[in-house]
């Protein structure tokens, strides 16, 4: 990929791993072949293992300074008692050191198989690219089938969590509808966009967010069952931001003024389509919805006329408010990020 001037990314999530490459069209077939050959029957060498361990450890270290990621992991850990969403995909840097080559080899043999994969091609390619996909390891017995999805994630009464972090911050999280409840899931997507989208969301106008290094983020993560709505923030003014977020979430239980709602829904459609214009964005999006079990519902499926956009068009102020009451009216999981004692001026 690098020799073509392309980019390669690997991301791990609770129930999947994504490997995505962006390359010139002239190299797409060769890259499709190379990637599927490598990932459908991985060969683990000592040097490859050493290198991968070092890179993942570095990624985990970088992520440990990302307030949004830290809050997200804590929220998911507080909401789920079992299932794939319970633990952070990357783990903490120290835990990674305990992962052995044998464990990785065993996992690769079970999970990295053609039967478990979804291949997405987008951009300047045609359907013939599928002929470049490698068969991978010959399948025998149970390996002929895709591995069954993990058990539905069990949730529990949300808890309060405190994490040490270089800056003050916090987060809230609620379980939401499954990916099968398309209209309700879309309503929470809309609400997250209306309230929290950087630059345009109503919460983005908070004066506290003008301070350098301060951030606020909110989104609904569409998952097989259930989804998660979570909000995170950090930086100076965290306490005020947290108070404002709680008030806004509570207000979402009341229907928006119809004119404001119509404008926000128009803006939401523009944001969705704008977020899905590059090949990478499209491939990531289609892959995600496939794995979560509802590809047809993927935004952008069937261009500008798929089920997702029809669900958006069906939204009303009353329905969105009812979904907010149902899911965001419950007690949330609360996360507090607190600086180490020395940062707060407390000597020990």
């Amino acid at each position: 990929v690098a020799s073509l001037g392309g980019t390669l990314a690997v991301d791990g999530y609770g129930d999947s791993v994504s490997v995505s490459a962006l390359v010139p069209a002239s190299g797409a077939r060769a890259v499709a072949r190379a990637m599927t050959t490598a990932y459908f029957a991985p060969v683990l060498t000592p040097e490859g293992f050493r290198k991968a361990t070092a890179e993942v450890a570095q990624d985990a270290l970088v992520r440990s300074f990302d307030a949004e990621a830290v809050v997200r992991d804590a929220v998911f850990g507080a909401l789920f008692v079992s299932g794939p969403q319970r633990s952070p995909a990357l783990g903490d840097p120290a835990a990674l050191a305990a992962v052995s080559a044998e464990l990785v080899r065993s996992f690769a043999g079970r999970a990295f198989r053609a039967q478990n994969a979804v291949f997405v091609a987008s951009g300047t390619v045609d359907g013939a690219i599928v002929s470049a996909i490698a068969d991978g390891r010959p399948a025998t017995g149970e390996a002929r089938k895709a591995e069954a999805p993990a058990d539905p994630s069990a949730t529990r009464a949300p808890a309060a969590t405190v994490r040490e972090f270089p800056e003050s911050g916090g987060g809230l999280g609620w379980v939401g509808p499954s990916i099968g409840d398309e209209r309700a899931a879309t309503a929470l997507d809309f609400l997250a966009d209306y309230l929290f989208r950087p630059g345009t969301g109503v919460m983005a106008q908070l004066p506290e967010l003008r301070a350098a290094g301060t951030f606020l983020s909110g989104q609904f993560v569409t998952l097989h069952d259930p989804g998660v709505f979570f909000v995170s923030w950090s930086g100076d003014g965290s306490a005020a931001i947290g108070t404002a977020v709680a008030a806004r979430i509570a207000a979402a239980a009341r229907p928006l003024d119809p004119a404001a709602f119509a404008a926000a829904r128009n803006g939401f459609v523009g944001h969705i389509l704008g977020d899905l214009q590059t090949p990478t964005e499209q491939a990531d999006n289609f892959g995600w919805y496939s794995v979560e079990g509802n590809f047809a519902y993927a935004p952008g499926a069937n261009g500008g006329a798929g089920p997702y956009l029809r669900a958006v068009e069906s939204l009303t102020p009353e329905f969105v408010a009812s979904v907010a009451r149902k899911y965001l009216g419950a007690a949330p999981a609360r996360v507090t990020l607190t600086p180490p004692a020395s940062r707060k001026g407390i000597s020990s």
């Binding site: 991301d11 995505s20 997200r72 951009g123 569409t222 704008g274 214009q277």
Partner: protein
Amino acid sequence: VSRLRVCAAAALFAGLAVPVSAEGARFPVPGVATAGTTRVITEEDAGAVLGGVQVFVSAGLDREPANAPGVASLLAETILRTPVMLDGRMRPLREAAAATGTLVSYAVDGRATHFYLEGRGAALGRALDLLGTALAAPDYSPAAVAPAAALLAGEIADVEGNPLSVGLEMFKHVYYQGAAGRPVNGTTETLAALTAADLRRFHDAAYRRGGVSFAYAGRPAPGLADALGKLAGILPVGMPPPADHRTTPIPATLTHVIAQRAVGAPFVVVGFAAPSPTSPDYGATLVLQSLIERTFNPDRTTTVGLAQRKVGALYLSDVSPASMVVYVNGIQTDPTAGLDEVLLLTRALGARALPEAELAKMRTIAAGRFGAQAISLGDRSYLLGSLAAQGLGADGLNASLAAIARTTPADVRRVARTYFERYVVSVILPRTMPPPAE
């Protein structure tokens, strides 16, 4: 869609493609039209759902008056906050455009302020009308200007915490004599000193019909030509003031600039003069940029962002004349050793020609990298308009690929000798580190 910001894909193998190869043109050839007397470069894509239009106004840093740094940015932000009428109600332009489903944003660079609108069909035309209203008569009242200034002040603070941005500004300050050498938003002090009268004077001088051009990428939009034609006529006839492109020659003796900021590790930024896109040296410059990054970041399997690279190279063609910076990231590598290695490499490239086989690989990489910069509608339309404004013609994307494809070993060596033997070194140190003794 919000979930994409978190995570995105799944057990997924995405063989993705951009329409570029190292040999020959691969981007669609754009069309050229006029709206009134204004040039429009158009690359239509029936497969796209949206369209994106860039409105370039020759009101960039190179036309800012000496006594008003930051005025271009403050005026652009004020324009986006100017109330316009939509559906019987006055509301700020940004909010009104969003209500039609159209994103509107702006950026100020060395030679232009460019407004970008992205949306669908008729809504895009409607948003262009709204932009025209605000462009013609910005709201200079405190209700629009004060929050615009507050926003820019926050951005200034963010820049101060980013060592690469600080290093870029330090180099530009040394190399560019005019306003192109100043921070795009000015400083906290100069921003606070700007008045409505400053904004009005800059608008009256620089927002002229003769300095406007358009570039469009995306789904064919019915009515777009009419909307652009109307917009083209909204500003007064005339040309903007002359641009200031003066530079200070980089001396043969080493120039060091040192600053301390609230950053986590030392950072070194080496600045060089560089050829413009119309120069015969342009292709070799893009190849050299790729070669430097490839040389110093060979051992990562996955592609990393600017902040995670040991060494990065940026070609700055948004300002005239162009320049290049190479940075050494002290979080990832020893900055002193990294600087030595960068200078060793640039000297070696000037001393002997690259083998053709090695150069062929680098041409392929450079072409792929260039193509990856022109994927979104916003990036594509910006590059089309910007490269055209720099003299590369309407088909600047393919012209750039062609320049890369015809680069020879002698070109690379010549460019290294011509541009890389004189440089400015900017060092950004954490506040906790003492500055080096003179």
